[in-house]
Amino acid sequence: MDALALLQIIESGLRLSVPLIFACLAGLWSEKSGIVDIGLEGKMLIAAFAAAVAAFLTGQAWIGVLAAVFASTLLGLLHGFASISQRGNQIISGVALNMLAAGLTALLGNVIFKQGGRSPPLDGAARLPELALGQSAMTILAISAVLLTALALARTRFGLRVRAAGENPAAVDNAGASLTRLRYGAVILAGILCGFAGATLSLGQAAGFLPMMTAGQGFVALAALIFAKWRAWPAFWTCLLFGLLDAVAIRLQGVSLPGIGAIPVQAIQALPYLFTIVLLAGFMGRAVPPRAAGQPYVKER
């Protein structure tokens, strides 16, 4: 394997990890504020759908991105309403969102385009252009999102309060900050980030929408979040690792290694998952979630 091949694997890995990075950061914001977000998958899916529809109708990729952010934020607010205002079970609300998104996108897609839920292929300006090294603008946006998230959670008043909301909501409440507003803020941020993730999928990596095109990436992002122990930079490296493993699996296929010969396709494809389990089981130590995550806050009377 020469330097060029290595560079190509890194390019491909970075490209594949971009939606994961966005989704993982979305989960980070939401859970730091104390709202468990199983619905990352659903938000990504609806964002991918909205992006494809808007980009197809207007022929402009950036309008697609805006539509994705809007749709995903709307779904996020629904989750927020159920779990913040109504103090519902956050897991159930998240699962419901995933189901809603899976069914709704396929149904609407079929009504609009009559192609079994698929959108027509996008061309030209309706797709995110490749800037350099096989990356679109979304890669830059993803890395800046990591930077900003890390900075905001460590240094800004909003970030610190969000963290407090997830660890000890009563303290935030006693200090006079509005817990509701903080958590809604975090949920909206998560919606925006999931919007970028979905738009990357349907406008960047693929050229159009397919039913269930997220294929479990929202859950992989959740796993990455736990893996990274709810911290921004580790989340970035974890997602990058997952993307790289995927890229390596693609490139290694059919290549015969010295001494071993050609590895069966199945073994190569199991590699990322195997690696994840080994890393999770052996090298990670304890991952402690934000203490109040998943518990609705009830003001003492």
């Binding site: 091949a5 192609q115 079994g116 839920g117 698929r118 159009g208 397919l210 296929q253 199945q266």
Partner: protein
């Protein structure tokens, strides 16, 4: 109870009426698509087009079902059979196990299975000699390639797709014995038929290694393969349906597998009372497989390439060129 009696009486009258009034057999055809969906621009869509053509010619409507997971195959087939549909076209090799079971339960229903053989008195199995078509597009790929390197992206890793790959390699080597062929499979589950992102990544990896023509046999995944080759300014080769028009001038040709004809024939034979169970093997000779030449790829196919492909096709039909069938021995000698 009264409603039941009424309904029974009504259905008896209705069936009498249909026997009495319609001299030509009226049929209720149905289709169960494979994973990948009706609009995969490839395998399933070919069946859809055949059915639509039947509808246009005869005015007889049909019902269809797109499965979302493997468990639905049997349910869908049984549901259609119970509701009196016949013939029922089951699309794809994966339907074989489910079909075998359901065909036994409904001995009076006619089933047509595409891409796999089930031996039952009420099942018609249609299989194609994909190796012959793949050989021809391999030949064309090698002649169109400037780098001497070509690629193949398969869908699910199964013997049927290995058959495409193996004979493609044979065709490539026939035109250029020194050519390199990169082969990749998308996955090992049904999801591999519907993963254009992965398809695009696989094609990109082959292009990075120098391939300038990439052939796919991957259903909906192939949409990504053709897009990646078109984006990179290289050539793709379509499969099953004619995919030349998806990226005009960027798709060298398409290996046609006439599932549309198979569907149309099954429906119209059933309508005319000519439908027969058994195994149909469609190759170049029967026009069951072919390569596509139309206004979209006219400029890409030079007269020399067309002549070579025609010559090879004639040689395959006459038997002077033997294309290896991977499924006959599970090996690829190349």
């Amino acid at each position: 109870m009264r409603a039941l009696v009424l309904r029974l009486a009504f259905s008896a009258v209705a069936s009498l009426a249909s026997v009495g009034l319609a001299p030509a057999q009226t049929i209720k055809p149905a289709i169960v698509y494979d994973l990948g969906g009706k609009f995969d621009k490839s395998f399933n869509e070919g069946v859809y087009q055949g059915a639509e053509q039947f509808k246009k010619v005869t005015g007889i409507d049909y019902r269809d079902f797109e499965i979302q997971n493997d468990a639905q195959r049997e349910q869908a087939l049984r549901r259609f059979a119970r509701d009196g549909f016949s013939p029922i076209v089951a699309v794809g090799f994966s339907q074989a196990t489910a079909l075998e079971k359901v065909a036994k339960e409904f001995p009076n229903t006619k089933f047509t299975l595409i891409d796999m053989v089930v031996n039952a008195p009420n099942v018609q199995s249609v299989v194609f000699k994909e190796q012959e078509g793949s050989y021809l597009v391999g030949l064309l790929a090698a002649m169109a390639s400037k780098t001497g390197k070509v690629g193949f992206v398969g869908g699910m890793d199964i013997p049927l797709i290995r058959r495409f790959a193996c004979s493609y390699v044979q065709g490539v080597k026939a035109a250029n014995p020194a050519a390199d062929v990169f082969q990749n499979m998308t996955g090992t589950t049904g999801a591999a038929w519907n993963d254009p992102v992965k398809g695009a990544e696989l094609a990109k990896s082959q292009i990075d290694r120098g391939a300038d023509v990439v052939y796919h046999a991957a259903g909906g995944t192939g949409i990504g393969v053709l897009r990646a080759t078109a984006d990179a300014g290289k050539l793709g080769i379509g499969v099953d349906s004619n995919q030349n028009g998806m990226h005009p001038g960027k798709v060298l040709t398409s290996m046609l597998k006439r599932v549309d004809v198979a569907t149309l024939t099954s429906f119209s034979d059933a309508k005319d009372g000519k439908w027969k169970p058994g195994v149909l093997v469609l190759g170049l000779n029967e026009k069951g497989v072919d390569w596509a030449l139309d206004e979209h790829n006219k400029a890409l196919i030079t007269p020399a390439m067309k002549a070579a492909a025609d010559k090879a096709a004639a040689a395959i039909v006459s038997g002077t060129v033997k294309v290896h069938d991977y499924m006959s021995d599970g090996k690829c000698p190349l």
